[in-house]
């Protein structure tokens, strides 16, 4: 009998939590031992008749019952409220950072630290047990339909994933990855080379002089593209910031250092030779090849017989 009562209590608690926490946010814990026997009985009486078909419309009435039973019992613990506050703080820091690094895009470079902090606090909320074995996961993350905290965090996570920042920032070491640092260095080399020769106003010299560094940069970039070690900071093009695409545009369009279409004559010569071959082939096979003939066969057919002639008459 006792087991049944406890079971009923637990069911009631779950429903209560679902129904109430979004409405009331009071600071209390409910240790199970504090419940009195009479309270239990009362609870069971309230739940059992209704539980088989538990309509949402009945919920308000039911929760009202319960409220009267435990006025300030079901609350979010102090600990969780504190966590929530920290979360809010870090969240706004991160968002601020994102906004300020949006143009030119430097979200990975500038904000990996704040993102790391945010991730840490979220981990605390979702995984760890606080003092007195309190988990804030249910009370903060899952207790209502909106699940606001979760939603906020997942939005930020999406931004982070979309920017592929994981590829150039290692959150564990709180630093940019070595590849990225190396890339930045090469990029700076190329850019300084560009700058140096651009002042002289001679692009052809720039093309020959900076070719080596630019090639190196370009190859490094292609390699990183292939290995998937690119994040948005490197990929993104921006007129102000000298980033990869911009560098490429500088190189190919502004300085005009792409390869010229220089061998039109040989290509045309070879192509027309190739195109000429089939004409020769078909002409020669037409002129020299023996035409295939078919031997006709004459099938045996009915010779004209009297009745056949009748039909002829019929037609004529």
């Amino acid at each position: 009998m006792f087991i049944v009562q406890v079971g009923a209590l637990l069911i009631a608690l779950i429903y209560y939590a679902n129904a109430q926490t979004s409405v009331v946010a009071v600071n209390t814990t409910i240790p199970g031992s504090e419940l009195s026997a009479s309270g239990l009985r009362q609870l069971a009486a309230a739940v059992v008749p209704q539980s088989p078909v538990f309509h949402p419309s009945l919920r308000s009435q039911f929760s009202l019952n319960l409220l009267s039973a435990f006025p300030e019992d079901l609350e979010v613990s102090d600990y969780c409220v504190a966590l929530l506050a920290i979360f809010g703080q870090r969240y706004s820091t991160y968002v601020n950072c994102l906004v300020s690094a949006a143009r030119p895009v430097k979200v990975c470079q500038n904000c990996y630290g704040t993102y790391g902090n945010l991730m840490e606090i979220y981990k605390n909320i979702s995984d760890q047990m606080g003092p007195g074995n309190v988990s804030c996961r249910d009370s903060l993350l899952r207790s209502d339909r909106l699940m606001l905290v979760f939603l906020l965090y997942s939005n930020m996570e999406d931004i982070w994933t979309a920017s592929e920042c994981n590829r150039c920032v290692s959150l564990r070491d709180h630093s940019l990855t070595n590849d990225t640092l190396y890339f930045m260095e090469t990029l700076n080399q190329s850019l300084s080379c560009f700058e140096k020769y651009q002042k002289q106003g001679n692009h052809s010299e720039l093309c020959t002089e900076c070719k080596a560094t630019y090639r190196g940069l370009n190859e490094l970039y292609s390699r990183m593209e292939k290995n998937h070690t690119l994040c948005i900071d490197i990929e993104d093009s921006d007129l102000v910031l000298f980033q990869m695409n911009m560098t490429r545009i500088l190189w190919s369009k502004d300085f005009n250092c792409s390869f010229p279409r220089a061998e039109t004559v040989p290509v045309i010569a070879v192509s027309s030779f190739m195109l000429f071959l089939p004409i020769i082939f078909y002409l020669s096979s037409f002129l020299h090849s023996e035409q295939k003939k078919r031997k006709l066969i004459h099938p045996k057919r009915a010779k004209s017989n009297p009745s056949f002639i009748n039909i002829q008459d019929k037609f004529s």
Partner: protein, 798 residues
């Protein structure tokens, strides 16, 4: 192209002066006397219903030429070749058959039914496996080729010397294609082309020599891998259908005559009727593996072999199709390192159309119909050009080494044209992260951009189709697309009919997708803010359907195949409308490509119905006469002489009872086939021997099946002088109830019997049941509707 066309017509005109190429009707015979008689007949026809021109003139010129030996004319479409024979779909219900049926228990029949299902499963499995092998082989070979060429081009873009890359590309292409063409031309010419015409003929009831042999399968598979990897404008889907059919024919027989291996299973299925059912299942499995379209496969089989089917057969065919798709997906999932993922469909994967781009509106329907009409027109043009080219090829490029050379030249020119296009193209597009180009070529584009023409040309055709369908708007500029369409149209037209095994599905789709996309882009640019609904990918799909429909003219099955291959039922209506329009418009000008090729092969193909306005022709005019008959008890010498006569290569002989007091034909009492007679002669089933050797084993149906399908020629059977005097009793072996018709039966009626029952011989009898003639497939197939009404084709030896 126009050049060649002119030459062909010129040459045929030149020959006409000698022989009269298109003698309209029943022209002449071996003797002049005969001819005169027939000129009388011709006159009759002339007066009667036919409006043939210059009949008398032709006849007189015939008389001159006929005086010599048999007339020779250049190959043309109005011929029927003697090398094609009918399949024996009609069951010979002789005494042996009845005995066997009596002996067979109820359980035996159950087992047969189960083994039919097992065979269908095996067919599906093996077909799927072959498809998988082809896919992987092509992918890897083409990958290696494009990688090498790409490396080379990149190197030479920097240091100069791009013409060397061009030569490298051309040589690589030619090398691949040479291998493919050599094995086809020298080892198995039957494996050339897509194989769909051949399978169509087979299901129609024509025995195409060597079409369902193991050797053909091997050559076909290797050939298609080579030709696709060789960069020709071809696809691997048509050959897949042929491969499926060969697998079916092989598996259902439980043995391979080529490997001389008999597994002693499925012996019951060793006859044409059963084999045909399995071949249709194999063709369905092939389609289903090629396009990931199981239902489309079944419908293809029904559409092409529609004269014989029933519900149980359809259900089994569907089973084979399903198994085939499943097998292919399973093995591809292992290959792609995602074992167990069964959702990647088909050899050709059109990719998924996302839900926002699939929407279409009522006002787009007229546009779709216009596109269908354009597809029909272009398809007709394609077919006409290919028709002239094929005639030229048959007449002048018939030696195997010439054929190999031609294929290599086409491969080299394809590479050259593609390279030139890419080289001179100025269309550079940024390489987005969502595009999965495998071999982007930068060439003279800025860094970070790629040459847009190269995505279309520097790729296997199948991938090009996919990028045309799915690349975001703006990845191609209109000039690139129109140049590509134009070039690829002529390349594909030139390629189809080469002596390599290759299909026409993918090239057609590619041409259509290119102009469809162009259409979509132009539409978006002329409408003020219409770029929302004029999604180029959608129009590419519709264009592809229109072009394919315009070329091959399939209807129901093609719609379902397209719907299944795109995995999107929403497009069902537009695709259907487009195919309908394309077929109507195209049929106004010329037949479908497969039908043209069937005609050019001189195959006696029976269409769905007898030609219109042929009711006045009766069986008497159609039939062959006089008929070579045998008596119920016939002398062995006579039989051997008749069978050995090379000039009359008959296959069915009515068995007659002589009528007393008349030298006329006897009354019919049965029909016996050449193959049966040969088996009888081989086993020496003579009346005299049976008397002397009482212990001799009685001949069973099994002995006939063991010899199937390659009955030995009569020359290989030795009959001694003594044995020639013996007698043979045919009663037990002949089909005692052959189908007969009276002389006055009209041609359409005879035709219907042939088509519906799958007959091979139809005996024409008079009122007293005496044999007067015999109608065979060739007698019916020679009538067709021409420009001047009903025309008759000539028989030719090939």
């Amino acid at each position: 192209m126009a050049n060649i066309t002119k030459k062909v017509s010129w040459s045929s005109r030149g020959d006409e002066s000698g022989g009269g190429e298109r003698t309209p009707l029943l022209n002449g015979s071996e003797e002049v006397r005969y001819t005169r008689q027939f000129s009388g007949d011709g006159g009759m026809f002339h007066i009667g219903r036919l409006s043939t021109v210059d009949l008398e003139e032709d006849m007189t010129s015939d008389e001159d030429s006929v005086r010599g030996c048999p007339k020779e004319i250049p190959h043309n479409e109005k011929l029927l070749s003697l090398k094609y024979e009918s399949l024996d779909y009609d069951n010979s219900e002789n005494q042996l058959f009845l005995e066997e049926e009596r002996r067979m228990s109820f359980l035996g029949f159950k087992c047969l039914e189960i083994s039919r299902w097992v065979i269908c499963g095996l067919i599906g499995f093996l077909t799927g496996l072959i498809a998988c092998c082809i896919d992987i082989a092509v992918e890897n070979l083409a990958g290696v080729k494009y990688f090498v060429v790409k490396q080379n081009i990149e190197k030479f873009t920097e240091v100069g010397g791009l013409s060397i890359s061009l030569i490298l590309w051309a040589v690589l292409n030619s090398a691949f294609v040479m291998v493919g063409a050599v094995i086809v031309a020298f080892f198995e010419p039957g494996a050339a082309g897509s194989g769909i015409p051949q399978i169509k003929c087979y299901l129609n009831g024509v025995k195409i020599p060597r079409v369902v042999r193991l050797k053909t399968l091997v050559v076909k598979v290797c050939g298609v891998i080579c030709s696709v990897a060789g960069g020709l404008a071809v696809g691997k889907e048509g050959p897949m259908i042929h491969s499926g059919a060969v697998v079916a024919a092989g598996v259902s027989q439980g043995r391979s005559t080529s490997l001389k291996k008999d597994f002693k299973i499925f012996e019951y299925f060793r006859r044409d009727t059963e084999k045909r059912d399995f071949v249709s299942a194999g063709a369905a499995a092939g389609v289903s593996a090629a396009f990931g379209a199981p239902v489309g496969g079944v419908l293809f089989s029904l559409e092409e072999g529609a004269s014989f089917w029933n519900q149980m057969l359809t259900w089994r065919i569907f089973f084979a199709s399903m198994i085939s798709t499943f097998t292919l997906n399973f093995f591809l999932s292992i290959y792609n390192k995602k074992p167990g993922d069964l959702s990647s469909p088909g050899l050709i994967n059109f990719g998924r159309f996302e839900s926002d781009s699939v929407a279409y509106n009522l006002y787009e329907i007229p546009l779709f119909i216009v596109m269908g009409a354009v597809g029909g027109l272009l398809g007709a043009l394609f077919n006409i050009l290919n028709y002239w080219l094929t005639i030229f090829r048959i007449r002048y490029v018939h030696r195997p080494c010439l054929q190999v050379m031609e294929a290599m030249l086409v491969a080299a020119v394809t590479a050259t044209v593609s390279f030139a296009m890419i080289y001179f193209s100025n269309d550079c597009q940024p390489l987005g992260p969502d595009q999965s180009e495998d071999y982007p070529l930068q060439l003279f584009c800025a860094d970070g951009e790629y040459n847009s023409m190269a995505t279309a040309f520097f790729n296997t055709p199948e991938r090009s189709v996919r990028s045309l369908f799915h690349n975001p708007p703006g990845s191609y500029n209109p000039l690139t697309l129109s140049l590509f369409t134009l070039t690829y149209f002529f390349l594909a037209c030139w390629t189809y009919g080469l002596t390599v095994s290759a299909g026409v599905f993918i090239p057609s789709l590619l041409i259509g997708a290119a102009w469809g996309r162009l259409f979509g882009i132009l539409l978006a640019s002329i409408t003020p803010n219409g770029s929302i609904w004029a999604d180029p990918g959608k129009y590419a799909l519709i264009g592809a359907a229109a072009q394919l429909g315009g070329i091959v003219r399939m209807t129901l099955s093609l719609t379902v195949i397209m719907v299944e291959a795109t995995g999107n039922v929403t497009y069902g209506l537009p695709i259907m409308l487009v195919l309908l329009t394309a077929k109507i418009v195209g049929d106004y000008f010329v037949e479908g490509l497969y039908d043209i090729h069937i005609k050019l092969q001189s195959v006696p193909f029976l269409h769905l119905e007898a030609p219109a306005t042929s009711h006045w022709l009766t069986a008497r005019e159609v039939m062959g006469a006089p008929v070579t008959c045998f008596n119920r008890i016939e002398k062995v010498g006579t039989i051997v002489d008749v069978l050995s006569n090379t000039s009359t290569n008959h296959n069915g002989f009515p068995v007659v009872v002589p009528v007393a007091a008349s030298d006329d034909m006897g009354k019919i009492c049965g029909l016996i086939l050449r193959s049966q007679l040969i088996v009888l002669l081989k086993h020496k089933v003579f009346v005299e021997l049976a008397r002397s050797r009482l212990t001799q084993r009685k001949l069973q149906l099994k002995d006939f099946r063991d010899a199937y399908p390659r009955f030995p020629p009569i020359q290989s059977i030795h009959v001694s002088q003594d044995e020639r005097e013996c007698m043979m009793d045919l009663t037990e072996f002949m089909n005692p109830t052959p189908y007969t018709v009276p002389q006055e039966t009209s041609l359409p009626r005879v035709f219907k019997l042939f088509r519906a029952l799958g007959l091979r011989h139809l005996v024409v009898v008079d009122s007293e049941n005496r044999v007067v003639g015999l109608v065979t497939r060739k007698d019916l197939a020679r009538y067709h509707m021409g420009k001047h009404g009903l025309e008759e084709m000539q028989l030719a030896q090939t």
